[in-house]
Each structure stands twice: as structure tokens, then as C-alpha cells.
């Protein structure tokens, strides 16, 4: 390993001489054979085992690895914010701001020593993954950012506000003066992350540690934040340590890549070498486990750890029956609408009510045996649409029809018109898989109880049969029936999500509604869960509605895809058609911001910045409404392709206009 990093250093030095940043000829951080242990009830567990790498001044180094590989704790060690139980057992972290400075060993300093405190936030700062929780809810944005400035710079009180407002402007706040006195809860996730970036950069640090800065954001916001980071890096001339598990982000951002696995550095080197010629098994596997827009449509993802599962005998009968009806329409959604009223409290005497159209005239069919994908940014109404279909929310208008049987004895059920008893009976046909496998399983129930509960609610079989069926469900998702007595906390994220899938399948539903089922999972298990879902669909003859903000994931699993924007479907097409021939400007923009995990398709950051300035609808004719939106409809381009445009537009002109 030491060898790997040594050779990496050599290549980098070669590259750097001809590189852009000639002023920065030294390494700002040099981690040398670092060992770090966590004290777990008296027993030391070594989580970093001899890591060595460097961060050249002014460059971006990406630290890649799955959760638990030690990448976050390594960044905490550099910053000096290790949790109480963790300590550095051996090795050095050499820090040198300027080439002429004496290197300072950060590993030898106490976390709360004056030198360390002065460095933190002043010379080295960090942004975190979770913009929702990393700011204090009780203090204004201005207070929190200004605090960093007052701590590290000798600055007059009255200048603090001007400097902070300038910084807020720089990170792209639409109204920086107003943001000064706003609280984090008044801002969206993207703006909070910008505030966090402003806080980290207010003192112009020499090194910025970005710990999964875009993982909690959707693709368009991710592209904007990445572009912002890149721009600021150039402006301020700082080095960036980018911690991520998203190889697409790495390919677009990093100058050098360090790959970690189980506390050790597997591979390190310049970006080109890592992507073109990966050496280590783990890295190779990782590159094949990530769904990507440039892979073939029928290519299968190689999961890092494959799972075997078996179909219980009791299910096979239904399956053959179900498969005979493939391709008939199962669910008809027509003109679905949902409005929320939010009261904007302004002034002392309440305020005006705001009506938000969360779902606005959404129409689509789901055919038996297919997977219908819904994509869009967060807040576009995907999840609300699902909740309306499963009757978790009540719709403001429109209809949802469930079709059964074939030919003459076809019958339909109006889902939105069902009474409570009807809804309960109907839930046996539609079940849901949730996004967060950690909060969607009760920590106080055993897996057996979790799987049995739906059967108890719907009084399926005797107690004995239920337990036996629960064991079969476990095998169905590739888990040991012996795990039934355990509690959810003893499982990993991927295993928990499989339990969530087993629970959804307990009632033998025909339609499975999946709400971002893999977005909370590590890339290495994403492939595993996606493959499982794909196999189960095939083997059990299930129908899926699958929503995600990750286009690559939807492309991997869905047969037909609808693109949503601000509560409306703007384009709907077969998978190949949508990705090969996107027509609507929004779909195109969405495809443009997906970072590819290869070097041949870099993100166009200039364009993203331009689009950012023109937030909102300035789409060309005929995609923009001339009035309040009532002049728009879905226009059929071809049999399986529809686009939202002005009523009566000619399909040919639409295709051309794009």
C-alpha cells in the first residue's frame, strides 16, 4: 500500500509540473502511515490501518469508499473533530499552508489545543452531507456564518455583515441581504447547503473537506453545488478533499483519487489512471456496480456481493395466473390533482393562504407486468402522486382506476371512491417500499413481527401459517429464516431494505410502489437491491411504480418513464425512446446534469451556471404556457411517447422545436 501511494505521488508530481496551478507546488496535507482506533467498550478496533496519501495545494482529491470504510473518520482526524471514543494510535498528518512553512504534525496536537482551534474553520473547514441538520435551528444564517469570521479574523463588528452578505451572494443566494436574518428552517435543502458552504469558505481556507456534499440533494441541485464548489475553488485557490461514494461526481471533480476499503488505501493516483486502468479488485467491482447512463439497456449490474433467493412454492400458482395478463392496463390514473394550502404567517394578524399545486393534472397508465418509472427533482410531486394512489393522502381531483380480469368479464374499481373498509381490502393489492430503511422499520419489533403484522391485519392464515410464511418471505429476499428473531438494528442498510421488500410482499400484492428504494443505500448495495427487485418482478409477475431522482437507476429498472416537473408530467415515453430521443427541454436539462462515471462525458458546468441564472420556465415554444397553464396538454409524438406542449401543437414541430 505504501508502494501504491508512493507511485501515485510520483505520477502526480510529473503531472503537476505542467499543471494549471503552478503556484501550488507543495502538498498541503500529507497523511503518513496513519493508524486510528475506536474504543468500543474497552476493546480497541482499528478503523484506519496505515493510511498514507497527500492533498496537493489547490487541487481536488477524491476519497472514495463505501460506508464504514473509514473515509469520514479520516477527514475528522485531519480537522481535529474526532468523536471522544476515537484516537490516533500512530502516524502523522503533516500540514503546510505555504511551501516555505515548516510542516506541522496535526496528529500530535490535541483536538482542543489553541493551534488546532485556530486552524479549524480558519485554514481547514468542512461541509457535511446533511444540510438539514448541520446548521443550528435557533440561530440566524448571518449569526452562524459571521461567527466563523469573528473567530478567525480580526474584523470590526459592523463589517461582519457586509462580508457575510458578500459571501452569501458569492454562493448564489438569490437575496443575500434577506438571508442574513433568516433561520435555516426557512430555506430549502439546496440553499442550506449553500449557507453551509458560505460558512466553510468565509475565512478563505486553504483546504476544504467536503464530506458527501451532494448525496442528500437531487441531481439538478447536485450539479449546481458541484459547479459552485469548482468555481469557488478556482477563485479562492483552495485544495478540496472530496469524500464521496459517487464515481460520477469523482469523474467530474477530482484531480486525484484515493480509494479506501476497510480502513486501508487500496489505490491512489490521478483521475485518468484510476478510471482508465483500475488495478484493485474493489475498485473494478465498484465501477461495475453503479448504474450509469452510458451502459447498455440490457446490461446487468454486477453487485459486489450477490445474493441467492428462492421463490416459495405457495406463490408459484398465482404467478402463472398473473403472467397470462401481461401488458394489459392495470392502473389508470386520470387528471390526478392534489393541492396543499400553506398559511404564510406574515404580520401580527395571520396572513394569506397559499395554494400549492403538488400534483397537477397527472395522467398515465400502468400496464400489468411493467415497471413504470417517475423521475423529477425533489418537490416535483412524485411521492405525493404515489401517496394519492395508495390512498395515504386524499386527492383534490381526478380518478384512479384499477382494472381486473380480461375481455368481457373485465371489472374496474374506482380507488379514490373506496370507503375505509374498501381501502383496507384493497391494500392487499398495492403495497409500498419506502426510501429510508432505517426509519421505516420499527426498532422495537422483531423481523418476525414486522413480517407478520400485515398478515395479522388482514387475518391471513393461522398463527402457525403466518410464521411459516414469514420464513418463506425471508428466503424470497435472500435472507436466512433464522434471522427472524432479530431486531432491525442488527442488519445493514441493504438487508433492512430487503426486509422492507419482504414486508411489502407479505400480502402478495400485484402492484408494488417503490419510493426511492435505493437512494439511501450505499452504491455497493444499490446494485444488489436493484437486481433483487428486477428478479422478483420477473419471477413473481409483479407490476412496479418506481420513483427516483436518479435517472441512471430509473433507466436500469423501468420500462416506461414519466418525467415530472412542478406537479405535472412533462414527458412520458418508453425507456429507450426517452433516453435516446428526449424532446422536452426539461428532460434534456435533467439528462445533462447527471454526472457520468467516466471521463468522456464531463458535466458542462458553464451551462449549468447559465441555467441556474434562468431558474424557472423559459422554455421555447411550444413548451411554455402562454397563459396560466390551461393551454397545455400531453401531445402524442409516437405510440409510446408523449410530451406536454400547447394544445393542438403538431407532433412534427414539437420534435423539431426541441
Amino acid at each position: 500500500m505504501a508502494q501504491a501511494s508512493a507511485s501515485a505521488n510520483k505520477t502526480n508530481e510529473g503531472e503537476q509540473q505542467g499543471g494549471v496551478s503552478r503556484d501550488y507546488s507543495h502538498d498541503i496535507i500529507r497523511v503518513d502511515d496513519l493508524h486510528l482506533a475506536i474504543d468500543l467498550k474497552g476493546a480497541d478496533i482499528e478503523v484506519i490501518r496505515g493510511a498514507s496519501f497527500r492533498i496537493p495545494a489547490g487541487k481536488t482529491v477524491a476519497l472514495v469508499g463505501e460506508s464504514g470504510s473509514g473515509k469520514s473518520i479520516l477527514s475528522q482526524a485531519i480537522l481535529g473533530i474526532l468523536p471522544n471514543v476515537a484516537r490516533i494510535t500512530a502516524g502523522n498528518i503533516w500540514y503546510r499552508e505555504n511551501a516555505s512553512d515548516q510542516p506541522l504534525d496535526l496528529a500530535g496536537l490535541k483536538d482542543d489545543s489553541a493551534e488546532r482551534i485556530a486552524l479549524r474553520g480558519g485554514k481547514i473547514s468542512i461541509i457535511f452531507q446533511e444540510p438539514m441538520t448541520s446548521l443550528s435551528p435557533l440561530h440566524t444564517i448571518g449569526n452562524q456564518i459571521g461567527e466563523a469570521l469573528e473567530l478567525h479574523r480580526d474584523i470590526a463588528r459592523n463589517e461582519v455583515q457586509t462580508t457575510v452578505v458578500q459571501m452569501l451572494d458569492l454562493v448564489g443566494f438569490p437575496n443575500p441581504e434577506a438571508a442574513w436574518s433568516m433561520y435555516p428552517m426557512e430555506l430549502s435543502g439546496g440553499l442550506r447547503q449553500r449557507a453551509m458552504i458560505a460558512m466553510a469558505l468565509i475565512c478563505h481556507p486553504a483546504l476544504l473537506i467536503a464530506d458527501e456534499p451532494t448525496t442528500a440533494l437531487d441531481v439538478s441541485m447536485q450539479a449546481k453545488i458541484l459547479s459552485l464548489l469548482k468555481e469557488l475553488q478556482l477563485k479562492l485557490g483552495m485544495a478540496v478533499l472530496l469524500i464521496t461514494h459517487d464515481l460520477g461526481v469523482v469523474a467530474n471533480m477530482a484531480d486525484e483519487v484515493v480509494v479506501m476499503y476497510h480502513g486501508q488505501i487500496m489505490e491512489a493516483g490521478p483521475r485518468e489512471a484510476i478510471f482508465k486502468n483500475p488495478q484493485h479488485q474493489y475498485l473494478k467491482a465498484l465501477l461495475h456496480a453503479v448504474p450509469d447512463l452510458s451502459m447498455g439497456y440490457d446490461e446487468k449490474l454486477q453487485s459486489l456481493r450477490d445474493i441467492d433467493h428462492e421463490i416459495p412454492a405457495s406463490m408459484i400458482g398465482e404467478i402463472t395466473e398473473r403472467k397470462t395478463h401481461v401488458d394489459e392496463v392495470l392502473l389508470k390514473v386520470r387528471g390526478l390533482r392534489k393541492e396543499f394550502t400553506t398559511k404564510k404567517s406574515t404580520g401580527w394578524f395571520g396572513g394569506t393562504a397559499n395554494v400549492l399545486k403538488a400534483v397537477d393534472d397527472v395522467t398515465f397508465d400502468v400496464r400489468r407486468g411493467e415497471c413504470f418509472g417517475l423521475v423529477g427533482e425533489s418537490g416535483c410531486g412524485k411521492t405525493t402522486t404515489l401517496k394519492l394512489i395508495v390512498r395515504a393522502l386524499s386527492a383534490s381531483g381526478g380518478s384512479v382506476e384499477w382494472l381486473e380480469g380480461d375481455g368481457d368479464d373485465q371489472s374496474s374499481i374506482d380507488l379514490l371512491g373506496l370507503n375505509n373498509a374498501g381501502v383496507k381490502a384493497f391494500r392487499r393489492k398495492i403495497q409500498m417500499v419506502f426510501q429510508d430503511p432505517f426509519s421505516s422499520l420499527s426498532p422495537r419489533s422483531t423481523v418476525l413481527n414486522i413480517l407478520k403484522e400485515p398478515m395479522e391485519v388482514h387475518s391471513m392464515g393461522s398463527k402457525k401459517e403466518q410464521a411459516a410464511y414469514a420464513a418463506e418471505l425471508m428466503r424470497l429476499v435472500g435472507l436466512q429464516p433464522t434471522f427472524l428473531g432479530r431486531y432491525p438494528h442488527s442488519f445493514s442498510g441493504g438487508q433492512r431494505q430487503r426486509i422492507g421488500i419482504a414486508r411489502a410482499l407479505a400480502l402478495r400484492p400485484e402492484l408494488l410502489v417503490c419510493d426511492e428504494p435505493v437512494s439511501a443505500l450505499d452504491v455497493s448495495v444499490q446494485a444488489q437491491v436493484l437486481n433483487l427487485l428486477k428478479q422478483l418482478q420477473e419471477e413473481l409477475g409483479l407490476t412496479y411504480i418506481f420513483i427516483s431522482h436518479n435517472l441512471a437507476v430509473v433507466r436500469y429498472i423501468a420500462d416506461r418513464i414519466g418525467v415530472m416537473f412542478k406537479g405535472q408530467l412533462v414527458e412520458m415515453a418508453n425507456r429507450e425512446e426517452l433516453f435516446e430521443n428526449p424532446i422536452h427541454p426539461y428532460t434534456k436539462a435533467l439528462l445533462d446534469v447527471v454526472p457520468h462515471a467516466d471521463l468522456d462525458h464531463p458535466l458542462d458546468f458553464d451551462r449549468i451556471n447559465r441555467d441556474m441564472a434562468a431558474e424557472g420556465r423559459d422554455w421555447s415554444f411550444p413548451f411554455s404556457s402562454q397563459t396560466d397553464g390551461s393551454d397545455m396538454e400531453m401531445i402524442t409524438i409516437s405510440e409510446n411517447h408523449q410530451v406536454r406542449a400547447i394544445i393542438g401543437s403538431d407532433p412534427a414541430t414539437i420534435s423539431k422545436a426541441s
Binding site: R120, G121, T133, P137, M185, M199, F349
Partner: protein, 332 residues
């Protein structure tokens, strides 16, 4: 916010009305009335009682009227500031209670201040040094304090004060000062007598407070924004006080609501054991002798103060926590 306060005050009226009905009904529940108790006492002390006098007393106090009428009379007068007449003391309720009120408030305030002064540093220490020997030790003593009944502690302290130091610690001042005008000597005497009741009454409250501060602060210490503050280079003490401590104060502010009634209720049982001239023993005696206007009006004070206290802490929370202030009125 203004609108919120108005609606909250509006909601207080039915709450208090309901409370008054419950209080009055419960006071009326035991069989008999004050006159019966009074006559019973007279007989027990060997005096002869004439039934006509009993009838006269009943009429005089309005005890012969139906319950609903008595209730309306009482609550109607209560609203106008006439809290009724104490049978036992032969004086208006406001006078009987008023005499003891300032002593009660003094004991309670001293107790509350002692509780905060001890509980805050210990709670913060315990939370920031979780699972250290210091934490375990303080937790042990805290639980001990929580588990010891106050009145028992009062008895034990009285015993030791008597046997070891030869002083009597009962009462709130030396006997010679009772009913005397305020003087330097009386003030000193009161302060001396205040020490033991304050400690006795404060023990369990302090222990409970330590546990709550520790638990709340521990929750907050694990939050991401604390790491953010450290990463910004905020010195450890300031990072503790400005962020997690401030956040964990929400429970404390919410607690202020329940403090108001305790300030005037004056730890009843302990007050009896230590023979303090506070309102606590007064209330118990009134309940025993069915001195119904005294008991009823006093309980009504407590109910009113509880409702006002809750309102005050809700408003204070709104001012302290922007999440509560700004999310108010939003609908899902």
C-alpha cells in the same frame, strides 16, 4: 403571534371553568359539611351543642342551599375578587391566605434558586462527561436524592439538628418573632430557619432536574450542528453554551409553567413536618375540616396559576425558538 396569544387566552376560560367545577365537586364529595365537623369537635371536647345553633350556622354560611346554587355563588364571587369566608379562621379567605403567602413565596423561591444553582452545573458536567466516574457518582447521589421522600429527610434532619447541635429547626423563625413587625433580628432568624427547609424541599427537585438536563443535553450533543460548531473553530465552552445548551433549554422553559403554582403551594407535607407557616399546611387543614371556601378558592388559585404559567412558557418558547415561532399556523 398576537392572534395566537388572544386565542390562547380565550381557551383559558373554558379550561378554568371546568377546573372550578371539578374542584367544587371534589370538595363536596366527603359526607357532611363544615358545621358537622365543627359540632363533632365540640362534642369530642365535651361541650354541649344545641341543634338550633347548628341550623343557624348552616343558614348563615349558605350550606343549606342546593349544591348548584352554592357553586354559582362561589364562582360568581370568585370572579369579582371575593374569595369567600373561612369558617375555621372566621376571616375572609384572602386575608387568611395573604398572611402566609409571602413566607411561602420566599421558601419556594429559595428552593427553586438552589435547585437551579446545583442542578445546572452538575447536569452539564454529567452530560459532557457521560459514563465517566464523575457522571456515575453524581448520578448515584442524584438518584439517592430522588428516591428519598422529602418528609423523611425532614424528620432525619430535625433529629440530627436536635441531637448533634441542640437546635430546633422547626418553623420559619424563632418563636419570639412570630407576629412581630419586621426587624433585623427577625430577618436573620428567618434566613437561618430557611436553610433546612430549602435543602429538604429542594433535594428531589434538584435530582430530577439533573436527570432532565443531562438527558436533554445528551440528545443535543449528538446533533450534527454541534460538530459544525466545533469544525468552525468555536472554543469548546462557547460551542457548548451557544448551541446544544441553548437548545436543551426548551424543556426548562416549558417547565417554568409548572413552577408558578408550586411557588404558592409550598410543599405541603414537608411544611407540616417542619411546622412552617406556609400555605401548604393551611390547605391540608382546610380540606380536613371541610372549610370549603378556603379550600376551594385556594385550589382555584393553583389552577389559575397553572394555566397562566403554561401560557407564559408557551409564549417564551415562541420567542426563544424560531422553529416554534415560524411554524405556527402552517397547515399540512
Amino acid at each position: 403571534m398576537f392572534r395566537y396569544i388572544i386565542t390562547r387566552i380565550g381557551a383559558m376560560i373554558p379550561t378554568l371553568l371546568l377546573a372550578s367545577i371539578v374542584i367544587f365537586t371534589i370538595i363536596q364529595l366527603p359526607p357532611g359539611d363544615y358545621v358537622e365537623t365543627y359540632i363533632g369537635e365540640l362534642i369530642a371536647s365535651g361541650e354541649s351543642v344545641d341543634l338550633e345553633r347548628a341550623q343557624y350556622l348552616r343558614e348563615e354560611y349558605g350550606l343549606d342551599k342546593p349544591m348548584i346554587q352554592r357553586y354559582l355563588l362561589w364562582i360568581g364571587n370568585f370572579v369579582t375578587g371575593d374569595f369567600g369566608y373561612s369558617f375555621e379562621y372566621q376571616r375572609p379567605v384572602s386575608e387568611v391566605v395573604g398572611n402566609r403567602l409571602w413566607l411561602t413565596i420566599m421558601v419556594s423561591m429559595a428552593t427553586i434558586i438552589l435547585t437551579w444553582v446545583i442542578a445546572f452545573p452538575i447536569g452539564i458536567y454529567s452530560a459532557t462527561h457521560q459514563y465517566s466516574w464523575g457522571d456515575y457518582g453524581l448520578t448515584f447521589f442524584g438518584l439517592l436524592g430522588l428516591a428519598t421522600p422529602n418528609f423523611l429527610l425532614a424528620l432525619v434532619m430535625m433529629y440530627f439538628a436536635q441531637t448533634l447541635f441542640g437546635v430546633s429547626i422547626g418553623g420559619l423563625m424563632d418563636a419570639e418573632y412570630i407576629d412581630q413587625p419586621m426587624s433585623w433580628g427577625k430577618f436573620k432568624s428567618i434566613l437561618e430557619h430557611l436553610i433546612v427547609p430549602t435543602i429538604v424541599i429542594g433535594t428531589s427537585g434538584t435530582a430530577a432536574m439533573i436527570r432532565r438536563i443531562r438527558a436533554n443535553l445528551l440528545d443535543e450533543l449528538q446533533k450534527q450542528y454541534v460538530v459544525t460548531a466545533r469544525a468552525k473553530g468555536v472554543p469548546p465552552f462557547k460551542a457548548l453554551v451557544k448551541y446544544p445548551l441553548r437548545m436543551s433549554l426548551n424543556f426548562f422553559v416549558a417547565d417554568i409553567g409548572s413552577l408558578l403554582p408550586t411557588i404558592i403551594s409550598g410543599a405541603e407535607i414537608v411544611a407540616i413536618v417542619l411546622s412552617l407557616q406556609t400555605t401548604g399546611p393551611l390547605l391540608i387543614a382546610a380540606l380536613q375540616s371541610q372549610d370549603m371556601y378556603l379550600a376551594g378558592s385556594f385550589l382555584m388559585f393553583l389552577a389559575t396559576l397553572t394555566v397562566i404559567g403554561v401560557l407564559v412558557s408557551d409564549i417564551a418558547l415562541g420567542f426563544l425558538d424560531p422553529r416554534i415561532r415560524l411554524a405556527g399556523g402552517a397547515e399540512r
